[in-house]
Amino acid sequence: MLGGYWESVAIFVGINVLMGMSLYVPMAAGLISLGQGGFMAIGAYTSAVLTKQGWSFGIALPAGAALAAVAGLIVGAPALRIRGIYLMILTLGFGEIVRVFFLNFEPTGGATGLGGIAPLTQLPWVVIACALAVFVAWRLRASRLGRAMIAIHEDDVAAEAMGISLVTVKLFAFALGAGLAGIAGAFYAHQALYIDANQFDFSRSALTFLYVVLGGPANPFGPMVGAVVVTLLPEFLRVVADWRMTFFGALLVIAAIWRPDGLLRAPTFK
C-alpha cells in the first residue's frame, strides 16, 4: 500500500499520536506532565524484553502498557498534592530517573542499549490503537468521568465540593495517560528494533507536550493533529535541507501567535 519509507513514517506518526493522547488525558484534568517519555521507555523496554523471551507481541504490548500505568499511579500519587509548574518539575524529574535507570541497568543493555528486537509493529494495529485512543478521548468528553476531569481542570475546589473524588479522577487520568505512552513505547521498540535510554530523553517528553499544545489541549482531536503536523512537517521540509529545523521552529512560532489555543479549539457547546 505504502512504500517502505512512508509506511515507516506513518507508523512513527501513529506512535506520536498515541504519545499526544497519553498527555491529552491527564491534561484534560489539569495535570501537566513533562515525563511522558519515561512511561514510553517503560512500555518499550518491558515489551521488548518480553518478546525477546519468546512472548507474543499481543501479550508483551499490554504488559508494557500495564507496567507504565502502574508507574503512572506511583508518579500520580504525589501529584495529588502539587499542581502547575511544580507538577511539571516532578514529572520532568521522573522522566530523567527512568532514562538514567535504563542507562545503567545492565540486564536491559545499559548504555549499549537493547538490540535485536523483532519487527512486530504493523501499521494497521497502530492505526487501530490511535483510533481507539482518540475515540475514547472523544467519548470521555460526554461522560461522567470526562466531565469530572474538566471540572477538576477548571476549579478543583468546586469540583471536590460537587462530590468528585480528586484522588480517583486524578490517579485515573495519570494512569490512563501513562498506559497509552506504554503502548506507544511498545510499538516504538518493535519498529525501531533497537532501543537505548537516550531515545526516551527529555526532548521526547517535550515534543509530546508540543503535540498537545500545538494541536489544541481542549479538543480530543487536537493532539492527533499536533502529532501529525509536528512529525510530518520536518519530512516535507527536507527540501530546504540544512534549514529544515529552523523553518520548523519558525512555523511553530507562527502557530503560537496565530492560534494560541492550538490548531483545534475546544468543541462548541451543544
Binding site: R139, S143, A148, A158, A161, S165, F172, A266, F269
Partner: protein, 253 residues
C-alpha cells in the same frame, strides 16, 4: 428532635488569626437556618468547615448524629450536604447543563463503564443525568438557558446555576452563601420563592446573607456571629430586638 447537622466547639485559626472561636450550632431538619453578622465574622469560614472544604482546628461536626469531622468535601457531598459559593465557581469548560450534570456525579454509577463504553453513544446513566439536570434548571427558572457557556450568563443566572448544580446532587442539606448578592429587589423576590420551593422538597437550608429583608422573611432560626463567636441565636423577631446584635451591627452609643 435531634439535630440534622451539628457543630460542636468549632475553632478555626489561620496562622495567628482566629476566624472562628468555639462555635456550636444545631440545625433542625426542614428548617431554614440563617447565619448573619458583620464582614469578617466567620460565616463563610463556618460554611467551608461544614462542607469539608476546610478542616476545623478543633471541634467536631455531626450529620444525623454521625461524626464526620475531617471528611473531604466530596465525602461530605456524598453524605448529603451540598453548597454554592459566595464567589461563583462554575466550570467554564462545560456548558450550562453540563455544569448541573457535574452535580449528578456523586449519584451516578459506573465511572469507568461509561467512559470506556464504545458501543452505546448515550448510555442510560447519561440520559438520566441530563434529564435530572434539566429538571433542576427548570426549578431555578432557567429552562430557556440550558445551552451555551456559563460565562455568557448574568451574575444572577450564574448564582441560580450554582444552586441548580448543588440541587442535582439530591442533598438533604443545602448551604447557600450569599445567594442574593448583586441581585435587585425583583430578583430577590424570585430567590425567596425559590428557597421556599427548595424547602418544600424537604431540604434543610443553611443561609449566609447580608440582605436583611430576605433573611427575616425566610429564616426560621438565625445565628448571629461576630468576630468568630456566636453572639445571639433565635427566631427573626427576637434577633431584631437583641441588644448584642444591634451593638455588633451599629456599634454601641
Amino acid at each position: 428532635m435531634t439535630a440534622l447537622l451539628q457543630a460542636e466547639g468549632v475553632t478555626k485559626t489561620f496562622g495567628g488569626y482566629t476566624a472562628l472561636s468555639d462555635v456550636s450550632c444545631e440545625v433542625e431538619p426542614g428548617s431554614v437556618h440563617a447565619f448573619i453578622g458583620p464582614n469578617g465574622a466567620g460565616k463563610t469560614t463556618l460554611f467551608n468547615i461544614v462542607s469539608g472544604v476546610l478542616r476545623p482546628t478543633t471541634g467536631r461536626l455531626f450529620y444525623q448524629g454521625q461524626d464526620y469531622t475531617g471528611s473531604r468535601a466530596d465525602q461530605v457531598l456524598a453524605m448529603g450536604v451540598a453548597r454554592n459559593f459566595q464567589q461563583v465557581r462554575l466550570f467554564h469548560g462545560l456548558s450550562v447543563v453540563e455544569n448541573v450534570m457535574v452535580g449528578c456525579h456523586a449519584r451516578m454509577g459506573g465511572l469507568l463503564r461509561d467512559a470506556l463504553n464504545l458501543v452505546s453513544p448515550k448510555p442510560a446513566t447519561e440520559l438520566a443525568a441530563r434529564e435530572r439536570a434539566l429538571e433542576m434548571l427548570a426549578l431555578v427558572g432557567m429552562s430557556d438557558r440550558v445551552r451555551g457557556a456559563p460565562a455568557a450568563l448574568t451574575l444572577v443566572d450564574q448564582r441560580r446555576l450554582e444552586i441548580a448544580r448543588a440541587l442535582a446532587s439530591a442533598p438533604r442539606v443545602l448551604l447557600l452563601d450569599e445567594p442574593a448578592a448583586g441581585m435587585n429587589p425583583s430578583d430577590v423576590n424570585e430567590l425567596v420563592a425559590l428557597v421556599r420551593s427548595i424547602k418544600t422538597l424537604g431540604i434543610t437550608i443553611l443561609l449566609v446573607e447580608h440582605h436583611m429583608r430576605f433573611v427575616m422573611t425566610i429564616a426560621d432560626t438565625i445565628t448571629v456571629l461576630s468576630a468568630g463567636r456566636v453572639i445571639a441565636r433565635g427566631p427573626p423577631a427576637a434577633i431584631q430586638r437583641d441588644e448584642n446584635v444591634i451593638a455588633a451591627y451599629l456599634g454601641v452609643a
